[in-house]
Amino acid sequence: MSPTQDNNPEEERLEEFRFLFRDLHPASAIHPPQSILAEYVRGIRQKGIEPQGWQSHAISAHIALCPSCQFQVHKLRRKERVGQIWTRATRWRPAYLYLGVVLFISVIVAIYLFPPGPVGPPVKGPGDVTDSSGLAQLRCENLLGQDAKICDAQLISDTQVSRSRTVHLR
């Protein structure tokens, strides 16, 4: 929304009224106690013409003038917000509990119905035609402590047998 044509107040600075806000340091020098700031943040004291309302307005004015109280109020507001989140979470606690119990029972039933099989690749031995990586040979050398040559010979003969079996099957 813009002003009307003959009304361009950009130069208007209201200098004559500036003295209203001069020498306000006493108002920022005396700090309200933490409990009053907490009440202000919680909005316990309603603003307005009631005697208690004056306090909220005065605290608001003090906070505007005092950076340390501004920081305190900022911290209190953050704490209040976290508190509200927790309160909301507590309201839904029975639902979370119910979901948790249902999930737990489902997992238990699933484990009993579908027991897990052996984990990892099947163990291969020397002569296994599917052993392309040579793991069976290594296992033979390192674990059994046998002579590698004997092992190799055995492996070669086993491989030949399985190949001939494969050819025969074809």
Partner: protein
């Protein structure tokens, strides 16, 4: 407590009372200005008390929203250090129409340095700050004369 400390406390309370009255004017919940004569000048700041009363009378006699807009402008410019983040947030909220005069406080306005165009958005495009300022000045002079003519008046007895 020493006399100096007492003086400081009294001064602090009187300043806060005047500013609180200013916020009440801004939110349109202020008491009758005639009731506030003694309360606003507890520390002897007759001119400040008179000007706040003049603003309250102008709000009653003229257009309330325009005077409230002027108060919002003054607070945003004269109170607190400039805070760009806060300024941008408030300006954005005013532009979106999420903020009304009755919601504004010293705390929200301090350091925001609003431009007149934002005040126009709050109070309407017919607002003329210079004209409203003139009205307040006239009322201020009128109140001053009334105080001088009334020998029982609290401000008169203090001078």
């Amino acid at each position: 407590m020493s006399e100096d400390e007492l003086q400081l406390q009294l001064k602090a309370r009187a300043e806060l009372a005047r500013l609180a009255y200013g916020e009440q004017i801004l939110q349109c919940t202020n008491r009758d200005p005639d009731e506030m004569v003694g309360f606003l000048m507890l520390d002897g700041e007759v001119e400040k008390a008179r000007l706040w009363r003049a603003v309250a009378v102008a709000k009653r006699e003229g257009s309330a929203d325009y005077i409230r807009g002027m108060v919002a402008y003054m607070i945003s410019h004269e109170v607190g250090e400039r805070n760009r983040q806060k300024q941008q947030d408030l300006m954005r909220r005013i532009e979106r129409g999420e903020v009304h005069l009755k919601d504004l406080t010293f705390e929200q306005l301090a350091g925001t340095r609003l431009r007149w165009k934002h005040i126009f958005q709050l109070v309407g495009k017919e607002f003329n700050p210079t004209r409203e300022k003139q009205l307040i000045k006239e009322i201020y002079e009128r109140l001053k004369k009334e105080e001088e003519l009334s020998p029982d008046h609290e401000s008169y007895t203090r001078q």
